[in-house]
């Protein structure tokens, strides 16, 4: 059957599934809208968290980024999984015990202050909007690449679907569609991975195939190191970044993960404290399936690519080369006009440009897999983007309807009124996200690091200290959050956008990249919070009791 038909079938079926779930799980109260009624099974919540967490970037780009970075790519693998340990051990159980709806709820109540709440709402909105614009763009790109519609139509279709189940079902609808989306995306990711692992190494488990040898008996990683040396790249298994920078980026991503509001709220949806721990464990297990496979795909496709193209005549390139060349993801300029493809680290002689996304997107074609696998990949990428977008959308709508409206502007609003406000806020957020998806601001790519850095430098210390110290007061927490966020914003604006005099790599403080700076801003937050708290009065008895109560099982 034609590839286009397969893709329409895969996408159509998965979309009707999401719509079906949305109709079945309409939200009737704010509790259902914000936290799915609070009775989600831990395994279901684990799947939903995994889908919520793994975005279009994890699904499409990560394997490619690792493929080009080798050891440098490890920062994403460790950084985006290690945060779950922090969540399970330090945050999730206590926030569940606290038993409210949102992250600003906790900050506002624990620090008995609407200023603290407002700072938290502000951070939650910035973090979520940065993220959601990227997801909508991802939906548009997948549509345009596979279904041959333009990006705008793609974004509009994506908006329509998310709008339908997020506005109708709230967290309840989102949770159960995310469970379905996890199944779609993991199946779509694993099928080609298993195929390719078997083709290259004869081992069906990619995690093992990764460390095996190909038909020539040489270990894949050794071969790849050798190829890299020949072509002038740094060795695949060793890095090009400084150890301090790798350390800081990994830390910022881990702590940022633990501080992201759309991940944290997922733990409000389970029934009891022990379930919050369990769902963090299941979530990480479900995520680990994809995250331990991605580096294997990276190695298979990197070896495949180099062996297929390096020093081969352009004339003899297989069909997928032409196809992806027309999309602009692959580019070849014959600089020395010998008709061969020279792929090297030296930009003056290198003749091939490769976009990182191609490693996942073109993999099935490079490995000559059947058409239905390619269709599956399209549905999987859409599932990854939509599930994350929906989770973020909920954070935005609850920040507006619950934290701003109910808690600050109109405390007397009825549950019904709040529910309507939540739906209006969600609709507004979808439209805004769609607008940014269609007209992506140039800073989207650069600001993903900002989202993590911001979450790490604002929420994480405030929540952690709020649970593990009774002494921290509002003066400390508010100034800590403000210092952390401002420092992070300053560093990002200076080195990513050239504000405040700009600067190059040579000017980085202690040689730390903006991606890793969240770690430093987080430390600044901790220090400021602790010092100011120790010089201002302790919180009242009530608050100390609240903290004691959170700690009880």
């Amino acid at each position: 059957m034609e590839l286009q038909y397969w893709i329409w079938i895969a996408v159509g079926l998965s979309f009707s599934l999401y719509i079906g779930i949305a109709i079945w799980s309409r939200a009737g109260s704010t509790k259902e809208f914000y936290v799915a009624g609070g009775g989600v099974h831990p395994i279901a919540n684990g799947m939903a968290t995994a889908a919520d967490w793994m975005s279009a970037a994890s699904f499409i780009s990560m394997a490619g980024i690792i493929s080009f970075g080798g050891y440098d790519g490890s920062v994403y693998l460790m950084g985006w999984t290690g945060g779950y340990v922090l969540l399970a051990l330090l945050l999730a159980p206590y926030l569940r015990k606290f038993g409210k709806f949102t992250v600003p709820d906790f900050i506002g109540d624990r620090y008995y202050s609407n200023t603290a709440r407002l700072v938290a709402v502000f951070c939650a909105l910035i973090v979520s909007f940065t993220y959601i614009a990227g997801q909508m763009r991802g939906v548009g790109v997948v549509f345009s690449r596979y279904l041959e519609v333009d990006i705008v139509t793609g974004v509009l279709i994506g908006m329509g679907i998310v709008l339908f189940y997020a506005v109708l079902g709230g967290m309840k609808g989102i949770t159960y569609t995310q469970v379905a989306q996890y199944c779609v995306l993991i199946f779509a990711f694993m099928v080609p991975a298993i195929y390719i692992s078997f083709l290259v190494t004869g081992n069906v488990i990619p995690q093992l195939g990764f460390g095996s040898s190909g038909a020539d008996g040489i270990y894949l990683l050794d071969k790849l190191d050798g190829l890299h040396r020949e072509l002038g790249f740094h060795e695949y298994t060793s890095g090009s970044k400084s150890m301090l920078d790798v350390f800081c980026i990994t830390m910022a991503l881990m702590v940022g993960t633990a501080g992201l509001p759309h991940v944290i709220v997922r733990f409000f949806t389970v029934k009891k404290v022990s379930d919050a721990r369990k769902s963090a464990g299941w979530a990480l297990l479900f995520i680990a399936i994809l995250y331990t496979t991605a580096p294997a795909i990276a190695v298979f496709s990197r070896t495949n690519l180099i062996e297929t193209v390096s020093n081969q005549p352009y004339e003899d390139m297989p069909g997928w080369f032409d196809k992806w060349e027309t999309t602009g993801l692959l580019g070849f300029t014959d600089k020395n006009e010998d008709g061969l493809i020279q792929y090297t680290a030296d930009t003056t002689t290198n003749e091939l440009t490769v976009d990182a996304d191609i490693m996942v997107l073109a993999n099935p074609e490079i490995a000559q897999l059947p058409n239905w696998v390619i269709a599956l990949l399209a549905a999987g990428a859409l599932a990854a983007a939509l599930s994350t977008a929906a989770g973020l959308l909920l954070v935005i709508s609850s920040a507006v309807s619950h934290d701003l409206l109910k808690k600050m502007v109109m405390p007397n609003i009825s549950d019904k009124g709040e529910l309507i406000a939540a739906r209006i806020a969600a609709t507004g957020a979808v439209c805004l996200a769609g607008y940014f998806g269609i007209n992506p601001p140039g800073f989207v790519a650069a600001t993903v690091a900002l989202a993590f850095g911001l979450a790490a430098s604002s929420f994480f210390p405030a929540i952690l200290l709020g649970i593990f110290s009774k002494r921290i007061n509002k003066e400390g927490a508010i100034s800590g959050m403000l210092v952390g966020v401002s420092l992070m914003l300053f560093y990002m604006l200076k080195f990513k956008f050239g504000w405040f005099g700009g600067g190059t790599k040579a000017d980085w403080w202690f040689g730390i990249s903006p991606e890793g700076f969240g770690s430093i801003a987080m430390i600044a937050n901790f220090v400021v919070t602790l010092i100011i708290s120790s010089r201002t009065p302790a919180p009242s008895k009530d608050i100390q009791e609240l903290v004691a109560n959170i700690r009880k099982p």
Binding site: Y71, L90, P93, S212, S213, T292, P295
Partner: protein, 78 residues
């Protein structure tokens, strides 16, 4: 009684977070070069920790914590 529950919890957290640090920052970053001199199958050990081992370690750490805390919770309910 309540106090000892919290103290035990803190002790578990300290031990498990040290393990968390060792498998990722320790084996995958700080001592990656030393560990890379050891090769197991097709993997250099440090590289393996950075791209595979640390993640398996994280999963094991969380499930250990779940197990320990469930046991601790039970002693509370008696």
């Amino acid at each position: 009684m309540k106090n000892s529950y919290w103290k035990k919890n803190i002790r578990y957290i300290k031990i498990l977070l040290s393990l968390w640090f060792i498998v990722s920052f320790g084996c995958g970053i700080l001592f990656v070069e030393q560990l890379n001199t050891i090769q197991i199958g097709g993997f250099k050990l440090g590289f393996w920790f950075a791209q595979q081992g640390s993640i398996f370690g994280f999963v094991a750490i969380i499930f250990t914590y779940i197990y320990l805390m469930n046991k601790l919770d039970q002693t509370q309910n008696k």
